[in-house]
């Protein structure tokens, strides 16, 4: 139950919607239990039902046009890279700023940055990076072209890394240029 809820929480970005998705998924899974032929594949089967339940609820709440409009209107992070902001090539491997950043960044900050992404970007990242979906599988689930999956991943990752950099700067974890000074966000 925890894994289903955790995944739903990252997909939806909020606890109430996550509970609705899990409840719907468990209910559907229970009613279709006879369709499950191999108990060993139960986990994958359950997560597929969860993802489908999420997509159904998501579509009921928002039209595709709204999702696309949000993606277009979101300020573009260009090809912003946390690594490029942090990396100092003359330092040795251990104790480098980028390693330090990964050690210091809080799980709570990551969740906050992920949840704040536009829906279309967050969902693509969660499906690929958390659940290990292929681009084709995401394309089929969300009924969007593979090229759109690629573009949402790319823009979503840049936005996520830029948000993490901003959070870290505000918390005093990193010292350097603000993203808006680097030209990384000026490509719109």
């Amino acid at each position: 139950m925890d894994r289903l809820y955790g995944t739903a929480l990252r997909l939806t970005g909020n606890p109430d919607d996550a509970q609705d998705v899990v409840a719907e998924a468990v209910s559907k899974a229970w009613s279709k239990l006879d369709d499950l032929r191999d108990l060993e594949s139960m986990e994958g089967w359950l997560f597929r039902i969860l993802n489908n339940a999420f997509v159904s609820q998501w579509r009921r709440r928002r039209t595709r046009d709204e999702v696309e409009r949000e993606a277009v209107e979101t300020s573009d992070a260009g090809d912003f890279s946390l690594f490029q902001q942090l990396h100092q090539p003359f330092l040795l491997w251990w104790g480098t700023p980028e390693q330090q950043f990964l050690n210091d960044v809080l799980q709570e900050d990551l969740q906050k940055a992920l949840d704040a992404l536009p829906d279309g970007f967050r969902v693509a990242i969660v499906l690929v990076e958390v659940q290990g979906y292929t681009y084709e599988e995401v394309s089929a689930l969300l009924e969007i072209p593979v090229g759109t999956v690629r573009s949402r991943l790319s823009r979503g990752r840049a936005l996520l890394q830029k948000a993490l950099w901003q959070q870290a700067s505000e918390a005093g974890l990193v010292h350097g240029r603000h993203p808006s000074d680097s030209g990384a966000g000026d490509s719109t």
């Binding site: 139950m1 899990v22 980028e98 690929v128 292929t134 991943l153």
Partner: protein
């Protein structure tokens, strides 16, 4: 572009596709070879891998009691 002689720019361009497991065997092997001999690209790849692990870990959460009760209620109906 020869897969055997990728430059850093080409590797970074394909890095996420590589980490997502979406490259074919030939391109993936070419990136593996580049990462074995390029410290900067290797460092970048390791950073992105570790960040991805942190993102994956962000999906760990404890289901609240209210959800347990709700699910139990649903299952009791069957």
């Amino acid at each position: 572009m020869s897969e055997d002689k990728l430059n850093c720019e080409e590797v970074i361009e394909q890095l996420f596709t590589y980490l997502d497991g979406e490259l074919d065997h030939v391109h993936s092997a070419a990136i593996d070879r580049h990462l074995e001999r390029c410290r900067d690209c290797f460092s970048r790849a390791e950073f992105e891998k570790r960040l991805r692990e942190r993102i994956r870990a962000s999906a760990k959460a404890s289901a609240p009691d209210s959800l347990h009760r709700r699910v139990k209620g649903l299952l009791d109906q069957y």
